[in-house]
Subunit: 351 residues, 4 copies
């Protein structure tokens, strides 16, 4: 029996990715996708040319078993409530239900939250940390792309108890897909081409998602110093995470800890290639963004500066793959009782 | 029952793509892949990190039902003979068996051909033109990437008989993946970044493949004037094909002719979006390279300049997708009696 | 004595480039630059941070000796008239005064032309073809970027009389700077990144500028079949020009003809590097776009397919350098009696 | 009177940039440039097509007043000695003479240093910190590109005494030009295109240059945690520098301190644009890499997270501009008594 799935906000990049992954899966009936401009999906997403999919208005969206929300925070709150009331289970890809501290959420987003009980109910959509809760959840809130990368990259490290939780420095490098389909100067090609554009270098919203989830993992308050930038690639992000060790730890030990942490999880690869350079494996000791672009994988590599007492973790994923829409589909799979890898098993491209 | 498949030349981009597509398919046993440097596949193809695949030396390659050859012309001729003699069916992704005129081949490649009877036996691997022959072939020779794009783009047009066969102008824009894994100045990032690099602007080898196959389709000699360049993208190529009409023809008529030509073929989309611009479908009347990158699709769009009496056909595909390795897998599917779309159904990314 | 120069439309890429080139030249007083949003120039052009330049409203622009117009066609017509009436000499970088056939202009632009006598008066701003007229002109109209590249690339060839004037095929590859500072889907980075976007593949407006000027050079009507696309680079364009020979001609002869044609002109380099490949000069027989990006140079290379009877000319320049703003400054230099190379002598970057 | 200048290692990117900047300057006689392959410069640097420059073998290099060394460390030591002995003054762009601790240098480079007295004599080539010494120096050693960016970015901050000197975190994003003209996998376009490649994430050689120079500025030992990566741009780098404050400090105060620090220095712009977003100045509060690409400028912006007690400094420059060859020319200007800005005054491009 197929599950009926709807996508609210199908003309954006997140919604379009949900459609791309789900189209053609025998277990899924793509019931509808919404857009402010109804019409053929292919006029927005040319990769789906010939798919026959079309957009409807949100008012015309019927009941569904599962609903993806790919909407700005403000809009998505009443829409989530509507579909939950109608019996659907909801996977929210936006930021409406990510934080558990209402005052913080309202300060960060500059909005009053109209349905805070939903934020309280929402399960954090990081399957590696909340799988069982996700399976039974009515409402799942996927974190932001940088948050996903940093949380996956730092959670095992914080579990070791050997890292200073007060000084975690995270640099985020994002492809432009993460900025979305709306035009803006930062991703206007003549501006971002051959450029690096920094923004919100202090106080970026994802900081608080990282701190919330990593504090939970660490069992104590964590401070993250996060600085993002756009680099001229389309898909994929990297989080470069730095911690200062409070108790000596080696690279091999850390890799073993990471491997154990993720051993039941098919989409995180703890990445470890030889550091000495060989003819064909030059520049491979740390994971590449491109290796996970377009996929639901997160590759995590790391190194230790024993002299200086620091750890560097490189965590790469695709902001609309494992950092967004595909992680949402993974959650759909968990919630619907499908194979966790359904529709998501493809490896990235090389080159 | 699984078929046993081997890949000769697995460390190049073509061979790696065959591995990426076939890994995990239940119908296929990846028997082996060869490389001059045995070892883990992931040291060359980091996208396959954790796949457990390894390279063996060519001498250690065992028997197989199907063998992909991803090798330079000179080397691949005796290797093809060896595996054919051993009972395998061979899909050659290189240029050893593409031309039917021995003198021309030997002039173009500057080599003596050591097994010309194989070149004579080889079936051209364009499934849209040679499906039935491919199904029964022992040796299939896939054309070059530009040739694939131009042949698919121009074959229906030549069938109309309304085009001057003596003056077909083709511009080829290639991503750097098409140039391969070997280092060279044209695809050294500091040189090709923010650049366009023209090469072989007259006499490129693919010219002769285009002329051979299009002459066959047209039933008369065809002249192609082909000029390629590298543009700073990785995957995907475009062939811009121009013909001068000998008898008036309109855009709608041509689109209908193209649709009929490809109606039984799942991987060619005759692309037609509105020319008038709308808020969301700006710049979409002609196909985008990115829409087919990483896939086995070829999207073909066209337009007619009625005032000047010319037709422009835009044909886009991925040089190691439909223009290479994935087209080879499509031929494997035909030869092995699988679904033609097995392992190849994915749509490209947007964005 | 300094000349007073004003720039109308200084917040666009063309206007900004005029400012960048002229700022700091002792011979020039940058009297003003206009923008709909007055304020520091650096908020629009961050490269000019610290320059102290500011924008004024067009209404506040005072008299000047020379005025650059970097405006859409419709707007620039009355503005040109205003400044000409005030005694200024005008260099129009837009399309208002480029065509000499009024009916054609009005059809192509879909507008009534409000000051056609100015279009008749305007001198075509290709200094290599109209130097003496430009020196004395009151109004100079610089052609479009693709037109500049194709006209410079094909003019000497047409002079030979050995080329079929009815079938010139021109492919244009443009960086995104040529599309301007206004946002649009074609140059939204997530859409154009790793992509090639074709547009107006028949009937592009620059076609008519090429035909007008090349017909003049040839002394007979010329037909150009022009197809443009955007490639994901910022600065620079290439025009790949193909002609069919009516009378045999060799590469060396053509190069000599081109060299003679441009011998008095400092910004056109007839480009000729060895075709046989060497360790360090691989891929250099034809000019690179990057070599001229940011400059006022046009590099022209060519080759002859003697077997097929065709000539390929590769003409590269920067759409806002020699194909726009810097060519405008070159015309200012001619009009003001300066050294023709004033402010323009810099070579492009490598890498 | 002209000074005679020679360039050792003219076929690399650093050497080529020296040639590009110096060619045509009336104050400079380009006496010679060396390469292992003598011949026209344009076969290596196509931007200089038509310049008439040629390479000679190092053995054929004559005496000169000033010699630029653009060579690997090992080779450059005896070459420096040779030219210094011959009476030339030397500007070393490589790493032979950058560190003052011999044991450290020999460990970091894995070499014995054959002329340590030269390393001791060498003046650090950061003109903003060592102008007077440079003016009189016989041997100047320019630091690495990342070092230049981080030193310029952090020196004023350390002078405040309000920053923890033991925990400075620096992320380096580099264009591929910084990796040089030699082929390698990290800058093979199919590998780096649409990718971010991390390398030497702990223990990168530039770390020690930063620590040496910043410790000198701070008057106490400084610890830098530096992680570099390549991003798919050609020219330009960014250093994202993070410090933890030991005593509260505000953004405006810091900007004033930085401005004062650099007030006599024409090539450092302390960058400060409004943080609130406006229609045209979106994404401009921090400097862009592209604004300084191809130039001798360093733009430095910063922000303070008062809640978390941290400072972020964004320092951008071109690795072969202010972070390499052009900074070398600036030092030539100081040493020769020229205007400091001779040949270097150009602003970067926008777009």
């Amino acid at each position: 029996m197929k599950v009926r799935v709807g996508v609210v906000g199908g003309s954006g990049y997140m919604g379009g990715e949900v459609l791309r992954v789900l189209v053609g899966l025998p277990q899924v009936e793509l019931a509808w996708a919404t857009s402010r401009t109804p019409g053929p999906v292919e006029r927005v997403h040319p990769n789906l040319y010939g798919s026959g999919l079309g957009f409807v208005r949100l008012d015309d969206a019927s009941a569904a078993d599962f609903v993806f929300l790919a909407l700005p925070a403000e809009i998505s709150i009443p829409v989530a409530a509507r579909f939950l009331d109608g019996g659907a289970r909801v996977i929210a890809l936006g930021s409406a239900f990510r934080l558990k501290d209402r005052a913080l959420w309202e300060r960060v987003y500059g909005l009053k939250h109209g349905a805070w009980q939903l934020a309280e109910e929402a399960v954090c959509g990081v399957s590696e940390l909340h799988r069982d809760e996700i399976c039974g959840a009515r409402l799942v809130a996927n974190p932001g792309c940088f948050s996903s990368a940093a949380i996956l990259g730092l959670a095992p490290l914080l579990r070791t108890g050997r890292i200073d939780p007060g000084h975690l420095v995270v640099d985020g490098l994002s492809g432009t897909a993460g900025a979305g389909a709306d035009f803006s100067r930062a991703i206007h090609h003549p501006e971002i081409g051959e450029n690096v554009v920094f923004y919100n270098v202090v106080g970026h919203r994802h900081t608080f998602e990282m701190e919330q989830e990593l504090s939970r993992v660490a069992g104590q308050p964590v401070r993250v110093y996060f600085t993002p930038c756009y680099v001229p690639i389309v898909r994929g992000i990297a989080a470069v995470c730095r911690g200062f060790v409070t108790k000596r730890v080696g690279r091999a030990d850390l890799l073993a800890i990471y491997r154990q942490f993720y051993e039941d999880h098919p989409f995180v690869e703890v990445y470890d290639q030889p550091k000495e350079s060989g003819a064909s494996w030059q520049y491979l000791p740390y994971p590449w963004v491109r290796s996970v672009a377009g996929t639901n994988y997160c590759f995590i590599g790391l190194d230790v500066d024993e002299e200086r007492g620091s750890v560097v973790v490189i965590s790469v994923l695709d902001s609309i793959g494992k950092g967004g829409a595909q992680a949402g589909v993974e959650n759909l799979n968990l919630m619907a009782g499908f194979e966790r890898t359904l529709g998501l098993a493809d490896r990235g491209l090389h080159p």
